[in-house]
Symmetry: D2
């Protein structure tokens, strides 16, 4: 079978994975606090969870927590290039069914999803909604609800909902304040720059970096690129966001107008073909293209592949395309550069995202009968709980309203 | 009469005000574009507007635009210390009824509001809702609707609405994205630091600055204080905002824990008695207190006044209180430091706010019959229009979705 | 006589000046510590000092300290537009001979220098070397030495020295680390942006600001402009500095290439005609020109004046030139914008500069017989003393080398 | 023999090294320009160079350039943990004698130096002066001169010089402006943060990072740490630098006072035992220690090793010490974290450093007979040439002084 590889049962890898889990776990205090609070009652007792996530050490903390709460877990990867093999081996050693491995083919990645669904999970936990989409087309019996981690995935589910085709309630974890304000912005901001630096080892200071998209992710990347000394240009299709970028001191232009001066281009729009033929034609030789969006569609890699004279791998995940007399470099095949080139978002922010996940899963188990077949927000109590608990685990105290202030709040 | 002062008819002041208006007007391109588009149809023909705003050169641009659209305007000040006398003289010379002057007493300020209401305005344009509140208690006949410029003012109106007491529809201009994302953050961020520097002439670099509140205004102030080299501590009562401040690299503490290290304290919470006895007691000698919130209640100035051994004016708007063996300095009597100490927010952002105002006033004139007695959002078309037009007047072009992208947006 | 104006003896102004002095003095702890240490021995006993400085509240702290140390002081202004009249009145009330007033003519300014020299000072304390130059041409008997505050002034004196024409030893205070690293960079950085904002009241966020020169002053301005949200372009003639600006994330270009995109231009090069016809021709309408260098030669104002169709004052220190169909705005007549438009550098940094001045004056009194007719560095002990004492007055403690570390320092 | 390992002749590794060299070479335009200019005359014809450098892809660009100029090269590593094995294999395949491999023992590292010296090099190119020191004790016949890359190494050589023991002239490359202003600050600033993130994968935003030392390296690290959202505290022993850090908006404290709040500690002082028992005792559990200085002496690792209850490797280069009831993490065994944990400084800045190296080597070959046995500065022409050529290869144009300005420069 596709995943019956030697690595999965490798005990040395599993031990390394154990260390990685411990390291991440020690930096994800919110999860520990949830376990302390809910652990005894086993709220996920015997619940079958099907996960399609990036298999990183942070994800292993979520999985181990779900096990502690009583769940049975099957997992595949949300991206063929983002799997960390030591984590696969570690989770396998703990009794989790894992259908994933590093650098798997797209075919294997799709089989992974099917394998998970074949195990008849009750709750689906997805990142990008690929598994939700497959579940909808191939039979979703037994599924009582699900969660979705990303902006891109929620967009897709909302279209399903609008067309009346959503078959079970889903909580859009991404939209919790304590998720997207932090994970997307500060997490992806750092890990994207980290991924680009690991793959290229170039100096960021003085580089012209073009960030396509100024949502949470784009804001995070733009700030961190500047923080490392880059001159940052932002492109947008949304007027308010373009104005925000302008006021934040970034250069704002149409991509076509920015393209001849850029050194590094980073897409994070959730859109298709943001960087395409017309742009690539005008780029200077040596230009570097990276994508930080969920899907590998933001850069038109097909154009590059079909029209280059030659292509070769310079270093791991750094591919050179000779095209129109110049060299254009594509990072991580156009796939999420922060998960492929580096290790994904740091444990401190994944703690917040996965705390929302964990509590949303529990919420679905308890309430799915009452929930509409719709994309639901994370309940405000959960969002609040995660924020407050995060502050606690950081050792930060904040002010409380005095009685006089509470009274003032309700007066005019 | 209270406002029959010599300054109002002073032609030299009026000329200076004319120059100020021209200068501001030349930097508020959105307003000019609206006039070009709507000017001929006189959409405010003979409408009686009652304004309670900070009387600055930017406000004069709004007023002159309203006149151009056919309105009749009566105006008083939203704050006794923020009036610019050259603007008063200029507006008066253009036929506007003005009831305000620099450094007026609180009594005169209140009389100003009454004078405006006595003129039976049809639409009230308020900043802080003081005039709305008076209108509600003293008779609101003839008023068909209103607008409100600030966070603080909208809070008050929503309580009125909740209690079923709101007598006419109000558009909460502050909540337009193209208003609060820009005016509150970048406008007040700059002008607050500007006001503090003008009053004190101190070096910001290396100072410990404590910002109370991390809403739009607080974010703007924190960024600008850091931009001038300060070490910034943020205090909050809201967990999500506290986490944001933490991730933005600010020190986050309870005020009581920050108080002994702070050099300058700035309140922008919309709350009462944020800085009070318990904090002042622990401050070091030389501490400086400033308020950037709408009302002069955020610092408990009563405590200072009642308990000091002595107080004297060091420079304009810089008052020293000798209290408990140390010196504590209060800026602009605890009133909005950016409007009293400097000239208020810059024309570039006020253009966006006042474009929303102008279009909201027109909207109310046209639609008030259909509108509920509630606090309404600025219609999305207006908000969009302002953002797009602002980009145009800045000369910034942004990308448009391609057909393929539009199609992708609707697929899953 | 030219300076026999009514303001100088005005007791209300003098009282205001006293308050200003107290405020500045309370923030210039290093000077107080020097007085505590040297006050009793009166090291300047009966020494006649001739000062040509910007007459600000910070300068009054230097003058009062010199008086406390026994000196007799005569003073004129280093710039016709930078005089603060309350300080003039205050110093006059303390027995200082003052030859300066706000908005004096260039003729009066030159007479001021002559008046000071006529009093036969023994030590000259200059800012820009204008007084040194006059002393050299008109007779320097009795002068035993001098100091110079600025980069520009030291440059001039070094040319005199090179040509063998320097008539007395001068200490170049500017070159002390504890002076130029702080006063020039952080002091002028802040006060220049402050001056520009006070004169124009424009929003800095999103503006294209072009800084000509990336020495200490230029670095300070560039950082602060960015800190307020500007997109900053730097121009340079020095390759190392240009590279530094590039690595610091600023756009680096030739001025001629930057000119059509810039909104605000700031010169701080010490050079003549940095902004001249060829640049002004290519600027867009609405461009704003400011100078932060010592002399009013960096912008070719003659070109503007001779070639404009019209010119008028928009606001104080903001002059509009209609030229070639567009409007170009000149701030503070091309004179140091931070001293004319705002109040000059903040007391915290002037404390360090003036501590070096005060100790250098004492040093000259004691050692002038042994000193060559040359431009001398501030003695290292003084520079060190000022730095250490500044830290103390800020309440900052730093590490000391351990014995093991001291030993290591001398090993290989 | 110690270096006769299988990896050195590995052709696949050599090919990977070739790719790495090409990648770095394409980003080091200054070196290419030097080769274009000097290549034909073979200025290093048959010169025997002995190199002790970090063996990275950037170093391979220097080595290949030296070969092109006619030199014969023998090389060992400046640090046992910083060797990149693909580069070793690549250089070996090009006929270079290489005595180094990844993760070699300290014994092997020392043998490497001896092997190089045994080949009787004429010019020594060192990083840290370890090879210079050995050459001085073990016989330096045939050596006509040398260069030194680092602050630490120059310090050692200057002590040798002072004691009259220096046996040949050395050019201190580090002190060229075009070296230390860029490589040390922007290069090490980025690569240190990169190394820490690669080893730990932690979020930097919101972390308390303590930087010990505020020289070029410390400044670079502090800026980049802040650029990624950290709250940065600086410790110093030098008063001027401490003041600079303060004015730059960093918290300045004694290390002992900062220790209980810090999350990550980074040393870059060139000193011994900067972090020692007294500090470690007061740290909180989870503290992370990293060194960015040349030698592994800045953190007292002996104390950690002798006093811990237990130690284990969490991940590569991340070691946990259980000590006094808490966990303290040491990165890369206390060795330069940017070279061990990441790939060292980026090619763009190494280009400037190595251009100075290359031209200094040529200079020594031509002029060593005339040079004193002393530590010499890089000749100003070289420093200038490197800066100007770097600008050219970046495509940046700068202004030139006009005739009027040149004349002004020489007037007073």
């Amino acid at each position: 079978m596709a995943f019956n590889n030697s690595r999965i049962g490798n005990s040395k890898l599993a031990e390394q994975g154990l260390n990685s889990w411990q390291w991440a776990n020690s930096r994800m205090g919110v999860i520990s606090r949830i376990l302390n609070e809910f652990g005894k009652t086993k709220p996920l007792n015997q619940t079958k969870l099907g996960l399609c996530l990036h298999i990183t050490k942070e994800t292993s903390v979520l999985v181990m927590a779900a096990l502690r709460l009583g769940a049975k877990v099957t997992i595949c990867s949300a991206n063929p290039l983002s799997v960390q093999d030591d984590i696969v081996a570690f989770l396998f050693s703990k009794g989790v069914s894992v259908f994933a491995r590093r650098d798997e083919t797209v075919k294997q990645y799709k089989e992974g999803i099917k394998e998970v669904l074949n195990r008849r999970p009750e709750v689906l936990v997805d990142d990008g909604s690929a598994m939700h989409i497959v579940a909808h087309s191939s039979g979703s019996e037994g599924i009582v609800g699900g969660t979705e981690e990303t902006t891109s995935g929620i967009r897709r589910l909302k279209i399903l909902e609008k067309r009346g085709k959503l078959k079970y309630p889903v909580i859009g974890v991404n939209d919790a304040l304590s998720k997207h304000l932090f994970d997307n912005k500060y997490g992806t901001g750092q890990s994207t720059m980290d991924g680009i630096i690991r793959i290229t080892n170039l100096l960021i200071a003085g580089k012209n970096i073009v960030v396509c998209g100024y949502g949470s992710v784009g804001k995070g990347i733009a700030i961190r690129a500047r923080g490392f000394g880059a001159i940052v240009t932002v492109t947008e299709t949304n007027a308010h966001r373009a104005l925000e970028a302008h006021m934040d001191g970034f250069i704002v232009k149409r991509l076509i107008d920015a393209v001849s001066e850029g050194d590094i281009f980073i897409t994070c729009t959730g859109q298709i073909h943001v960087i395409r033929k017309e742009h690539i034609i005008k780029m200077k030789s040596g230009s570097i293209l990276a994508n930080a969006g969920h899907f590998d569609i933001e850069i038109d890699t097909k154009y590059l592949k079909s029209n280059c004279d030659d292509r070769y791998l310079v270093r791991r995940y750094l591919e050179c395309f000779r095209i129109r007399g110049k060299r254009v470099y594509l990072l991580s095949s156009g796939r999420v550069v922060n998960l492929v080139g580096s290790e994904g978002n740091a444990p401190e922010v994944m703690a917040m995202s996965f705390a929302n996940q964990l509590l949303s899963i529990i919420y679905i188990c308890r309430n799915h009968r009452k929930m509409k077949r719709a994309v639901h927000d994370v309940p405000m109590e959960i969002d609040q709980y995660v924020a407050l608990t995060s502050l606690k685990s950081l050792g930060i105290k904040i002010d409380k309203l005095t009685d006089i202030q509470l009274k003032y709040s309700n007066s005019y």
